[in-house]
Symmetry: C2
Subunit: 114 residues, 2 copies
């Protein structure tokens, strides 16, 4: 049984995990790099620089879109993507404040335990 247990964690824990999952594939990291470089890209330009098929790239773009890290608009027959900087900053802030809290909770950061 691999019943979904993710729901039994806190909203906060899930949010962090979801953001991390969005960038947990090198293709999606590469897509973000490419989009930052070019400010915006039509889908085909992204497909060109990735070693993946068009349909797979489309899927990865959709993952990034679902969580709000990128946004896409239809431009004629093409599809234009760009980074949603507001959301990206928010998610990063979420992760950073989490790790800051970790460090605060721990009093002896330099102490190697165990």
């Amino acid at each position: 049984m691999a019943a979904p247990k993710k729901e039994s964690f806190t909203e906060h824990e899930q949010e962090i995990a979801d953001f991390a999952k969005a960038i947990s594939h090198p293709a999606r990291v590469a897509i973000l790099s490419k989009l930052a470089e070019s400010n915006m890209c039509i889908c085909g330009e992204i497909v060109e620089v990735l070693p993946l098929s068009q349909s797979t790239v489309s899927q990865h773009l959709n993952e990034l879109k679902k969580i709000g890290l990128v946004q896409g608009t239809i431009d004629g027959q093409k599809s234009c993507y760009c980074i949603n900087w507001k959301t990206l900053s928010e998610k990063l802030e979420l992760l950073n404040s989490f790790t800051d809290k970790l460090k605060t909770l721990n009093k002896n950061i330099n102490q190697n335990c165990c």
Copy 2:
């Protein structure tokens, strides 16, 4: 065919993705919280606070250990875990310098494209 294509990306892209993957499950986020709170924990204490079985928690701990975010030492019949702050800081730095580079590449952060 779902042949593994992850190898065709850069080392850097893979490193970022691997770190993200390590914290892409709420259980592992929760484990890090618990470890930071308590400075160090025996395995059983972690199992107690998570809604997962002992064997599943052991698996998650192993994921975190593989990438170096936590370290474990055997202490008698118990197993003692703690956060490896050095590695955690390094991985975070990796992610932050990546996103900083994204922002630098993009000249008009406030411009909503598309």
